[in-house]
Each structure stands twice: as structure tokens, then as C-alpha cells.
Symmetry: C2
Subunit: 425 residues, 2 copies
């Protein structure tokens, strides 16, 4: 199939008619398929079910002898801190283990900075006339929702193949002290599946920025490889920032939401000693401590880094065919036509599809009209506004492969139909 | 033993010498006893251990068919909302089930009001020139710590036998719109063990106050009776506030921290429909939802109100002898001497001891010197400052009865020694 740009009007009309006919056939199937959220599927959740019964009445003591059922150990049980420290490559003393949601740790980190002065800050951010965050885009809609909720102005920054456009990031941060943060998903980014280069990480750590500037390093997918022989990785960021003389610059987050249970996992953060002190003091006022029995359960099940990696290979075995299905159909339906681009991520939870400028909303709406629910177009951009209206996030994890095939085919038919029609208009 | 006020100098000298000798003997025992925190003891935690194994791979579906292991159900699983609704006497639609800590729900409620405008507010409280909270005192130190952390000015209000001094509360709230809240532990209050009268509840619901005024109704001990035939209760507060035309005035909180596990229970809040909408919107930005598997586990174990009440009778059987030990020794050692007063609570976690003005700090320090750790004197007052320096909080739940006897005896000896000495000085 040739590129649309070389097709004459008749060929485009034939294409439009052919896709219209396919879409009618799809509509007749009355599909109800959902690819809107990066949810693990049932088979992935089942992988962790042995965890449920692992902690019984005889096993509720933490490694320091304290009773995990009672109050205490605000920072988490020592063995959970050690496990996350090992996974994140940081000292256990710099790890705080939280509840079940790393998003909650992130929201709380930003809300805390709004309400109390973080190390390096002259005052709580809520007392500043304006607070701005850099938002590499497309990015994770829930990061941007936190900024919107808390009245933080968002400045979009373009994503490149190796991470955010660092020339732009450096220029903005050097010029504007009201820029207090940047959202980063450094490995298998949401939604592009891009992994930051070591050079991007180093520039983030060493660039000029406000003394209370924070990198919100959401390492949501750093264990979530699809291929055992092609694993992306980034340098350990706490160390990079410390080496650059900006120890307090980064908060690192991760969780087991996509390792064990999406709704009942364990989240953790890592930060510099000064940041950990600040967080711990505030956390000790916010809560009596997180669920330590669930922390025990997780350590008993996952054991150590090798245990986690072995478990993640089981996830990969389920997810790999789904990603490959998406990419195979995108390639077959859209390859070489010059009407769409996409990444082929080696891990994470998403495939990011870029259609022609101004078409994304229309594609998502048309797909919805035939029973295929996608993430709303624009969701991956600050304020929900994709300036070129071209990005569509595909989340292949939840549907079974057969449903996924139907959904991606429908999506591609919508892209082809609308791309042909716009040339005929 | 007569009242100290009727004793002559010689009798007082004899008393001081006798107590000095007893204290030396106590010191020689090198005790290490802790009554500082309202922690459940091991036997209480053991009561819930059957819960650990209740949820297996076949039981992870919530009653609406959704998978409790996955994302979703921000407000909690329907059966957990129904259980808390039944316990709190409110509609399930007005209940949000949280994580393991009601303190966390309270901190978040206040932080949310600081950062986003609650129903009735002109703006987020952090944009107000000053925000004040009423703090019935003695009260719960962690409530006051939240105010301190978030820069909320605390106005102490006296506690009476039927709750806060309502004349003072009404006078202050009518005169000052910057008063945005009041902390209440309405049943078996911390630390006095006082239960609010129905009249106090009605006055709180109906009084004049700022449109964004909130009652933080921490119903921590409403199920925590010591005696089956003498149960304190308060009217349902959401209903009272609605009937008074102030639907949005109250946030109610409770948890299973002292029902199942202190460190791994489930907390919940109830509020008006407008408040629930506001909380839900913000919560949906803060988190993907709380641990629903632990919610399932709790419903499977506790079942319903009758199940909870049966379980609480087992707690009472453990706690009753401890409270009775404290009260018996206080009575034997300090009764009729006119040097101390205390309440005899019918539930909750504390006994509040009032010594003579200016003696509390000294008593706590002297007890510590012989190995008995109490809550720091003043902790139950805003800014840690007991204006009369006379309140000492006793937390009998954690130590075994034998240790409790030794600790309370030591405490009483300290009170008698210091009360005699001050008359001799």
C-alpha cells in the first residue's frame, strides 16, 4: 500500500470507501472494547495470588522484632525498605515505604511542598505568587491533574526520542525561579514508551534551577521489560543529583501496582537525607504509619530483586503478545502510508500513536462510535490540550488478544478513513 | 488516709518520707514500663488473626463483581461502605472507605481544605490571612499537631463533663469567621473518656459559625465500650447538622485500628453529599484508590454490626481488667486526699489524671526517672502547653496487668511525694 501523499483522488476515494465498508462491518459487530487505562489483566493479577495466604498468625513480626499489626515504623518495615532500596539502587535509609499507591505519594509530595517549605525553599509554594511545573508531553494525565488541582501552572516541553527536550528544559529553568518541578517517567515513559538517555538524566541533575526545584521521578515501569535481552535502564538519579551538587533535587517513586496487585500493592519513595527528614516529619503528623502487614506479605512473596525479576518475566510473557499484536496490526494497516507514526516500546504499558495533525479527537470519537473506548485524545497533555491534536494512547494490557485485535483494527480503520477523507475534502 | 489539706507539717513530713522510701524501692526494681501510647496489646491484635487467611485466590471479587485486586472503586468496595454506613448510622452513599489510618483521612481533609475551597468556602484556607481551629482541651495531641503543621492557629476550649464548653464555643464561632473548625472525639474522648451530651451535639450542629466551618468528628472509640450494660453513645451528627440547616458542617471519621489491627485496619469517613462530591473529586486526583483487598478481608471477618459488636466484647474482656486496675490503684493511693482527680471512663483507651496545678511535668519526669514512661505532660493541649500543668494521660491498654500495677503505683507515689513536698516547701 503506497503513501497517501502519492495517491490520486480516485485511489483516495477507493480507500475511503473500502474503510467505510470495513467500519460498517465493525459497527455491526457491536463491540464493547476498552483500551483506555493501563490496567493489568486478570491473568497478571492471578500471578500474585499466592501472596494472599503467605502471612498467617505466626508471621506478623517484622525483621526488627516489632509487631507489623500494631502502630509504629512510620518509614515501613526494615525488610520492605531493603527490598525497595535494592530495586531502586539506593540506601535503605533513604527509602520510605508507603501505602498501596505511588500516585498518592506523588500527590502528597507536591501538596506537602505547597503547605510546608521543602529543603531549599524560602516558603511553602502556596505562599509563592505563582508556581510552575515543566510537563514533558505527551505524559501521564494524572501527573498533570495534580498540578491542575493544586493551582500549579503547567509548561509543556516536547518529548524527544531520548527524553524531554533538554535545551528547552535548561533554558526555562535557568530563566525562571518560579519553575519548581518537572514530571518524569524515565523508563518506558507513559505514553511514548521512551527511556531517557544517560545524557538527559545528567543534564536534569546538573542544570541550573531554583533551589527548591524538584524532579518528580516516577519510575513506574523500571522493572516492566517486555524482552529479557533488551532491557532499558536509566542511571540512579539520587546519586547523579548528589554528584552534581543538587542532592535534594529529586524524589523517586515506584510501586508494585503492576508487579503484584494494581489495587493492593505497596508504593515507595526515595530521596536525599534532608528530603527524607522533611518527609518523615510531615508524614508523622499525617499518619500513624502505612499498612505494614501488606508490606510483610509483599516481602514474603517477592523476597528480593531476583524474585521480583523472575516475577516480572511472567508478566512479560502475558504482555509481550499483546504489544506485538498492536504493533503487527499498526504496521500492517498503517505502515508506509505516511499518515501515522508510533513507537515500538520494549516495556511499560503503552503504545503512543501519532496521527496527522488535527485528527486525534476525531479518530477517538469515531472509534468510540463503533464500540472501541480509547483514552480521550489530548489526555496526555497539560490541561488536556494536545496542541497538534494528533496523539492517541493505546493501553494493550487489559483486553484479551482477540479483543485487542478487533480494537486495533477498528482504530486503524478509523485513522485510514479520516486520513483519506481529509484529503478529499 | 485524710485529705492533705487537713494534715499538719509533721504528718506531711511523714507522708513525704514514706513515699520517698517507696520510690527508692521502686527505683531499685529498675522498671522499664511504657504507658505513653494508646496501643492495643498483643492479645487484642491476636483476636483478628483469623482475618489474615480469609481472602484467598477465589475470593477477590467485590459484591458488585469488580476485581478488588485491580484499580477502581475510589470510594471503596460496596460491602465495606455498607458496613461502615451501618456502624456510623449514615447512608452508604455518604461513606468513603480509605486506607488503614483515620488520622490520614483527617490530615488529608484539613490539607484539602487548605489547598482547595470546600463547599461554603470563598477560597482555599491557605489563601485566608489566618485560619483558627477550636481545640477542646485536654484533647488528642495528633489533632493539634495537624493544626500546628499546617499553620492553623489553635484556640483552646475547656472540656466539661458533657463535652466542650459550649457557651465559649458558641461565643467564639459567632464572633470570628476565621474559626474554621473544631476537633471533637465525641465518645470516650481522648484523654478524658468523656462522652458528649445530646445537648452539646445539638448546639454544635445548630450554632452560628463561618459557612465553611467544619466539625472534625473523630469517632475513634464509638464501638469501644468496656461494659456491655453501660454503653455511651451520641446522636448521629450528619443528621443533626442537616436538620439544623448546616448539612456540610461535619466530617465524621472512624477506623478499625482498635477493632482489628492498629497498623493494618481500614478507616472511613462520612459527610454530606456536597462534601462527599468535593472529597471524591480531590481523592480521584490524589490516588487510584485504597487497598480494596484489605477492605474485603475486613468485611469477610467482621461481617456486619453484630459481628463487630461481638468482636468488641472480646476487646472489652481484655481491657476491662486493665482499666479497673488503674482505677482501683488510683482510688487506693490518691482517693480522698484532695491532691488529684480523674475520670472513670466506660470505654475508650485512656484515663485522664489531673494533679495539682503546676505538678504534672514534675510528676511525669519523676516517674520517668524510676522507669515509668508516660505521655509527656502538656501533650493533650494545643502547642503542648497545659496552662495549669496538671493533666497526665494514662494509656492502660498495652502493658500486662502486672506491669500496669507497678506503673500506676509508681505514678501514685510520685504524685503523693510531690504533693507533700510542695506543702513543705
Amino acid at each position: 500500500m503506497p503513501s497517501f501523499s502519492t495517491m490520486d483522488r480516485i485511489a483516495l476515494q477507493q480507500e475511503a470507501e473500502a474503510q467505510r465498508a470495513r467500519l460498517d462491518a465493525i459497527a455491526a459487530r457491536k463491540l464493547s472494547l476498552n483500551m483506555a487505562r493501563g490496567k493489568p489483566c486478570k491473568a497478571q493479577l492471578d500471578l500474585a495470588d499466592a501472596m494472599l495466604a503467605l502471612i498467617g498468625p505466626d508471621g506478623t513480626k517484622a525483621s526488627d522484632g516489632s509487631d507489623a499489626r500494631n502502630y509504629g515504623l512510620l518509614e515501613g518495615i526494615p525488610e520492605a525498605r531493603a527490598l525497595f532500596a535494592d530495586l531502586m539502587g539506593v540506601p535503605a535509609a533513604q527509602v520510605i515505604v508507603g501505602g498501596n499507591s505511588s500516585l498518592n505519594l506523588m500527590y502528597d509530595a507536591v501538596a506537602r511542598a505547597m503547605l510546608t517549605a521543602v529543603p531549599g525553599a524560602a516558603r511553602p509554594w502556596s505562599k509563592e505568587p505563582v508556581v510552575r511545573f515543566l510537563c514533558p508531553s505527551p505524559g501521564y494525565d494524572r501527573h498533570f491533574a495534580i498540578c491542575r488541582e493544586l493551582g500549579i501552572e503547567m509548561l509543556p516541553v516536547a518529548m524527544r526520542a531520548d527524553g524531554p527536550d533538554m535545551d528547552e528544559v535548561e533554558r526555562l529553568c535557568a530563566a525562571d525561579d518560579s519553575i519548581k518541578g518537572i514530571w518524569c517517567v524515565p523508563v518506558y515513559s507513559n505514553p511514548d514508551g521512551i527511556t531517557y538517555s544517560a545524557d538527559v538524566c545528567r543534564r536534569l541533575a546538573s542544570m541550573e534551577a531554583a533551589p527548591d526545584f524538584r524532579i518528580l521521578w516516577d519510575n513506574a515501569y523500571f522493572l516492566h521489560h517486555l524482552y529479557d535481552d533488551r532491557k532499558d535502564a536509566v542511571p540512579e538519579m539520587l546519586g547523579l543529583c548528589a554528584a552534581a551538587g543538587h542532592s535534594d533535587r529529586v524524589y523517586e517513586f515506584c510501586s508494585t501496582s503492576k508487579v503484584t496487585y494494581a489495587g493492593a500493592g505497596v508504593a515507595a519513595l526515595a530521596a536525599s537525607p534532608a528530603n527524607v527528614d522533611h518527609i518523615r516529619r510531615n508524614l508523622g503528623i499525617q499518619t500513624i504509619g502505612h499498612d505494614k502487614v501488606n508490606q510483610l506479605r509483599h516481602v514474603a512473596f517477592l523476597k528480593d530483586r531476583a524474585g521480583v525479576e523472575a516475577h516480572m518475566r511472567k508478566h512479560a510473557a502475558i504482555l509481550r503478545p499483546k504489544f506485538e499484536t498492536v504493533l503487527r496490526i499498526l504496521d500492517a494497516e498503517l505502515g508506509g502510508k505516511g499518515i501515522a507514526e508510533w513507537n515500538a516500546p520494549r516495556g511499560g504499558y503503552f503504545v503512543s500513536l501519532f496521527v496527522e495533525d488535527g485528527l486525534a479527537k476525531e479518530v477517538v470519537a469515531l472509534a468510540k462510535s463503533v464500540g472501541v473506548e480509547l483514552t480521550p485524545a489530548g489526555a496526555a497533555y497539560p490541561y488536556g490540550k494536545d496542541p497538534r491534536d494528533r496523539n492517541i494512547r493505546i493501553a494493550p494490557s487489559f483486553p484479551p488478544v482477540a479483543e485487542l485485535e478487533a480494537a486495533i483494527e477498528a482504530l486503524c480503520v478509523c485513522v485510514r478513513l479520516l486520513s483519506a477523507r481529509r484529503r478529499l475534502a
